[in-house]
């Protein structure tokens, strides 16, 4: 008899993956509520396709690839809306600035610079830097060749640095970005 319901062990594993899924989603879309929406979509898809998951594989890599697909679908649907809502990005900056233990000068710019990267560069950079995936795992998540991961991570680093070195007035840049989008 086919088993349509995900078993509890799988659900447990999925539950364990939530914190890292949330971190990835947050780094991708910045806004906490929007990021959790993405996580929820990811969890629902994972449960719907749980029988496709090969237990010998790393669940996190599998769910991250689902999150990537869900994010891309969402972008296609909302092609009108910019991924980085400038107001939310500002609110985010305020929150960071209010955190006393943080190097404000660096990190204000960091989020701004990150937001400016194309999603094609941002995703591999985050997967490798923050999620600490190997290039092979990152390639699996994004379904691109390892060589492409390598070049995109490298270009993302260079671009991020250019923004960090050159962005004197990040907020005004964000505004102009909004107009373009």
């Amino acid at each position: 008899m086919p088993n349509v319901q995900a078993n509890d062990v799988f659900r447990q594993q999925l539950l364990g993956a939530i914190p890292r899924l949330r971190r990835y989603a947050r780094s991708l879309v910045f806004d906490a509520a929007a990021a959790d929406d993405l996580v929820q979509t990811t969890l629902e898809r994972a449960l719907a396709h749980w029988h496709q998951f090969d237990q010998r594989r790393d669940l996190l890599v599998w769910v991250l690839s689902i999150a990537h697909n869900a994010h891309m679908d969402q972008r296609r649907r909302d092609s009108r809306v910019s991924v980085v809502d400038p107001e939310r990005a500002s609110a985010e900056q305020d929150a960071i600035a209010a955190d006393p233990g943080v190097d404000i000068g660096l990190r204000l710019d960091l989020i701004n610079a990150l937001a400016r990267l194309s999603v094609e560069q941002r995703e591999p950079l985050l997967l490798v830097s923050v999620e600490q995936l190997t290039y092979a795992e990152c390639a699996e998540v994004l379904r691109i060749p390892v060589g492409t991961v390598m070049s995109r991570v490298s270009r993302a680093r260079v671009a991020l640095r250019q923004w960090l070195d050159g962005s004197v007035r990040p907020t005004s840049n964000l505004r102009s970005l909004r107009r373009v989008v």
Binding site: V9, Q12, G16, P19, R22, D103, L114, S151, V153
Partner: protein
């Protein structure tokens, strides 16, 4: 002369920074950076950006998981058979062994209609930190050492340890027997936890590898289920049984830790159902 050395491109240098380049290419990158301080400075900035990104996002892991997300995981589409029946069926269909039975049983019993879930609670981080601090200690790994002296003294120390920790932590602290898994009890200590004290029991195998069991009075928001997570090099199984939160911490493989956790869980069950001696 270095002038003949071909400059490694950004892709190679960046991949090297991510630990993806080894062998001759890796040496070439290292040699180049050694001789070219400008490029080395650039790579240091990349590394700083990477670390800053990591640090910036780290706090998300500590946030409690919103209820709607944990509920999404446990929501069942259609089907109205009881949880236990559905689980048994699923477990059998998937050919699950004892691990599944343990997860499932702990879970089913821990769900009185409503699910209490959160992300890895902070106390498990304290358990991991406590392990990291005391497990490498050579001379003073524990406060009460049960391996000193002759057999009678050891026995006395064991009883003292169990009584003392039970009194201070306000949950029954049993000294689990993990010899079947190759681990001998070293002893235990009292530690500060969130609201009150917690206990740490330390075990050691023949090779000197240690695991610790962290016990504390359970919070309301601690998940009842059996869960596993990694904190750096350490693996951590944690669960709640009755009033007591357990965290098993060690550098061992997940499978080895699971076997230990199962043994602890079963011994706890046995003593819980039998009158204490």
């Amino acid at each position: 002369m270095n002038m003949d050395t071909q400059r490694p491109d950004d892709e190679l240098i960046s991949a090297w920074l991510d630990g993806e380049v080894e062998g001759a290419d890796g040496e070439r990158v290292q040699a180049w950076l050694r001789d070219h301080p400008d490029d080395a400075a650039r790579v240091r900035l990349w590394a700083a950006d990477r670390d800053a990104l990591r640090a910036r996002m780290a706090s998300v892991l500590d946030e409690p998981v919103p209820e709607r997300l944990s509920q999404a995981v446990w929501r069942r589409s259609g089907g109205s058979s009881g949880v236990r029946g559905a689980w048994l069926q699923a477990a059998m269909a998937a050919g699950l062994l004892l691990a599944g039975a343990l997860f499932g049983a702990a879970w089913v019993r821990g769900t009185p209609g409503e699910l209490r879930l959160s992300s890895a609670p902070r106390w498990t981080q304290r358990a991991a930190v406590a392990h990291a601090v005391y497990a490498p200690e050579v001379r003073h790994p524990v406060e009460v050492n049960v391996r000193e002296g002759d057999a009678a003294q050891q026995r006395e120390q064991e009883q003292h340890l169990s009584r003392w920790l039970t009194r201070r932590v306000s949950v029954p602290v049993k000294l689990f027997d993990l010899r079947e898994q190759g681990f001998e009890l070293v002893g235990g200590r009292l530690l500060p936890d969130g609201a009150g004290p917690s206990a740490q029991l330390m075990y050691q195998d023949g090779a000197g590898q240690r695991v610790t069991i962290y016990l504390r009075k359970a919070d309301q928001d601690t998940p009842a289920a059996f869960r596993f997570e990694r904190q750096g090099d350490l693996g951590l199984f944690y669960w709640v049984e009755g009033d007591c939160g357990f965290a098993l911490v060690g550098p061992q493989s997940r499978e080895r830790l699971l076997a230990l956790a199962q043994s602890i869980y079963q011994q706890d069950q046995r003593t819980a159902s039998a009158p204490s001696r």
